[in-house]
Symmetry: C2
Amino acid sequence: MRIAELSRISGVPVPTIKYYLRENLLPPGELTSPNQASYGDSHLHRLRLIRALVDLAHVPVAGVKEVLEGLDSPTMPLHDKIGRAHRAITPQPQLTSTPAAREAATTQVEELLTSRGWSVEPDAPALNTLIETIAALNTLGQGHLAGFLDSYAGAVETFTDLEVAAVTSTPTTPTPDQIAEGVILGTILGETLIASLRLLAHESISAKRWSHPRGSLDT
Amino acid sequence: MRIAELSRISGVPVPTIKYYLRENLLPPGELTSPNQASYGDSHLHRLRLIRALVDLAHVPVAGVKEVLEGLDSPTMPLHDKIGRAHRAITPQPQLTSTPAAREAATTQVEELLTSRGWSVEPDAPALNTLIETIAALNTLGQGHLAGFLDSYAGAVETFTDLEVAAVTSTPTTPTPDQIAEGVILGTILGETLIASLRLLAHESISAKRWSHPRGSLDT
């Protein structure tokens, strides 16, 4: 198909498609004449993948590029491809906590990782975010929320068990490329899925408990 | 304290503090002379709250303003304050799915809400995001991930039960203002907390399962 049709089917404007082509997010089409190219289903699929990462997971274009380079590499281990997906959705926070707050939060996180038996690299992108978030909650007088950390981690394990099951339960036997794309999409869009489900559950509870004035706690 | 000391203790640069003052995110200090103001602990607390929302939850300044206006309102019901927090962390996605994909995803979500007994407003900010995410997964050939939707929702309920328990279990009897701030912080930073815990759990699993080349599924 021509670029105009690719745009029509995907809903992505032609200038945006051209931008993705220039940035190498989208591989070039097959030249059918010196200034005309033809695009196939793989382009349409790739375009939808890019839009999902940008529109739904709010990954910046540079992050999308990293993720796609990982997906396209025939030799990179899946673990490293996943690492790229993690970095794309974990912007590194500025370290605004005080040294004392950071130290206390670091101890809490180390204890959690040990008790859960999670083995993560010290430079895992999410580690900094977790430590800073706990430090912020403690400093803002909401340390009791961080006290539920172990229960949170337990509930998170329910998800990750589910997610591993979901990824390895594709109906047909997937190729390594399909596995990689499924794991990456599950990682990135799974976060969007969980976040929106959580907010809907909150809204439902909140409407039942807290729609009275003055934050009454009556049920 | 003077603005320089507020900056030193909070780690927030003076120009940024002045910007927050101009934008009314931070209430003005008490004037001690025509061009000198004094700031107290409530300013320091508010400044830390702003930085947590901006740095850790990546809420844009306009969203922070919405959230704080809600928190500062003595008459707004808590449910509406929570609504502001939801909108702040749920940027509305562009609707890039095809009409058919969107319709199918909408049906899936409606069935889910009914079976879970979640009552949400049709304009709930997260509803659109959830529908578009499921549509994207279906279109990208990862529909089996969305097939786990009900299990995901079940795991999410584990969280929300925990979160309600955490919010209502403050060690001392909280004022309505403290309850509101706790619920809002729990809602917003809770998302950051869960997302980073999930990525750490993934990393731990991924290192065990997928650190071999070519995406082997050996355990």
